[in-house]
Amino acid sequence: MQMTGAKILMECLVEQGVDVIFGYPGGTILNVYDELLNYPGIRHYLTAHEQGACHAADGYARATGGVGVCFATSGPGATNLVTGIATAYMDSSPVVCITCNVELPLLGKDSFQEVDITGITMPITKCNYLVRSIEDLADTVREAFAIARSGRPGPVLIDIPKNVTTETAEFEPVSRQKHGMRGHLAQLMKRSSQDFKAPEPDYRDIDKLVEMIRASEKPLLICGGGVVRARADWEFEELANRIDAPVGITVMGAGGFRGLNRLATGLVGMHGSQASNMAVDACDLLIAVGCRFSDRVALNPASFAKNAKVVQIDIDRSEINKNVETVHHIIGDARRVLQLLNERLPQLRHDAWKDYVFSFKTQTEYDEAGDRMTPVQLLDAIARIAPRDSIFATDVGQHQMWAIQHLHFEYSGQLVTSGGFGTMGFGLGAAIGAQVGRPDKLVIHLAGDGSFRMNLNELSTVQYYDLPVITVVFNNGALGMVRQWQTLTCGGRHSQTTLDRGPDFARVAEAYGLAGRRVTRLEDFEQALQEAIACGHGCVIDCAIDIDEMVRPMVGGGSDITEFMID
């Protein structure tokens, strides 16, 4: 059937089962938005800013495990996506961004709202495309989705010149299972040894690791983002129980292993618990699953786990030995590798080793300082009052670390946070995406006052679509994490980190048509949170906390993992 490019695009999205799009229209993407009106089955969420749309698509992908989709126009619309794309790329989140560009004959002439977005996003996408011919459009969209979701997932961008959206071509629907048999994708599939699936792990590698585990007296597991991405919670827990090994959890791995499990040692790395970091230093075998040993985990790669044989399990071969030298690795999907390991492992016991590790603290104890609420009191109250399966989207900074240290996540996708890229302003957009993807869950957006100010324009999206997202602002009147670094490493000179200025977040919320509360006492917070959950609409609770509260413990960047600057 002959169709316009815009219609072909929409038909391809239907093929992929897309029912939610986050986006923002504009001049070049006009025809796509016009065609969107003919697809009532696809819900479009108009955000306040393209960055919010991209974060929402990312949050949707992280919370649901599916692919997030966002639309933006050319030029500034496309560049506004960039931070969102980079955020998704660093955390391996499958997002397909569709931008339109100026008409092909105008390309390269510095036309109005023209930008080389494929050039700009090259380093931050798994792959990107400029669709020059309408003949290629359908197969390009199919390939883009296949690439975004398979292997190690990641964002993909498709840039479509405006004329391609109006031209017509023959379109024939193809079911998703058959996409790999057509066009360029078919060649790609031929080149990779396994079709869309992750490579099947080498059984000899598995057996070797089983032997290493049997020989180990002090094994340690690290639960990384790959466990969350593969939704391998159950398999990971089984492995931990079988080996009877303590488990350190990375920021991206939070939720992959139940935080309240008796084997969990808490966060590992810069703000890792004493138990986690001491275990890394003392273990004789460290098995990292889906963890790339970033500089926030392996602070000093040379001394990291210096007494241990390090084993990496990852789907991406290029991660092996990238940051930390390993003695063994297994390539494959975390879930499959863990299944194979579990099949081959007997029940082991490591009581003495566990006694040693758990003689250290798995959590930081904070003083309850007089009249001010402490972050931990707030988080404990949230854990008490909110349903246990609530989804938490965070921004970046102190509140993020406190939340990951003190909320005990129970399942993959429960925490939506920008771990790799550390994008302030990520949280609200991501919370919107998570709420749209998981309407059955309560979504709580945890923010700092600095992060929240960056993208709080998305409160209009929360209000318009009546999304019951609750924003809890940890308001210390400062860029707390930077201030903490200044306190510890700049001799206490606080340069440009004091936010002794507005706005009044409660009144901002009201201006957006949402309920807003400012609380300074714990009882008031508890009451405000209960009311917010009960009312079922979006709400902002602005909580005053102390400006000098720090994230503890902390190990300085580049230091040995046990060199705590502060306990």
Partner: protein, 183 residues
């Protein structure tokens, strides 16, 4: 950290716009300096072959190969060790030759190197040399005293010796098992 040496990488890629910048970006993004780069189509018009020479230690070179293989536009990547491959580049050198004697002497040097004179004018000679970088360097040194006016090199191209090709599966662990690209 192991010794930094010159690594020759052969990369088969889609013959499409933007592919070269994707590949080159990977090197600049990771802070590696490309010593030499040559691109051209192959016997299959849909496929181009890029030969890249880069200074790196073994670990870095391995990471580069892994990163290259992740690019969707990359079909295959192979390291060509110097002892098992033939490497050539074409160098064009324009030399100042104002006198009869100079011209004669330059022609003699060119003959010794089995290179050809491809252009002659009253004041200059242009010589085409094919060889690896040591040959190019040697003739460059000899011609230096006459005054090199201009010099251009194509960059090294390389093939593996013997019957093996870039598509050949090898048993080298970490090189070709599990496929070249994890989609």
């Amino acid at each position: 950290m192991s010794e930094v040496t010159r690594h020759t990488l052969a990369v088969l890629v889609d013959n499409e716009a933007g592919v070269l910048s994707r590949v080159a970006r990977l090197f600049s993004g990771k802070g590696y300096n490309i010593e030499s780069l040559a691109v051209g189509t192959t016997h299959d018009p849909a496929v181009s072959r890029i030969t890249i020479e880069v200074l790196a230690d073994d670990r870095q070179a391995r990471l580069i190969r892994m990163q290259l293989r992740k690019l969707i536009c990359v079909h295959s990547v192979k390291r060509l060790p110097p002892e098992r491959s033939i490497r050539r580049e074409l160098v064009l050198i324009k030399v100042s030759a104002p006198t009869h004697e100079a011209r004669n002497e330059i022609i003699q040097i060119a003959n010794v190197f089995r290179s050809s004179i491809i252009d002659v004018s009253t004041g200059s000679l242009t010589i085409a040399v094919i060889g690896d970088e040591s040959k190019a360097e040697a003739i460059q040194n000899l011609l230096g005293e006459f005054g090199i006016l201009e010099l251009v090199r194509t960059g090294i191209v390389a093939l593996e010796r013997g019957q093996y090709t870039i598509d050949e599966q090898t048993k080298e662990k970490g090189e070709f098992d599990y496929g070249k690209n994890v989609l």
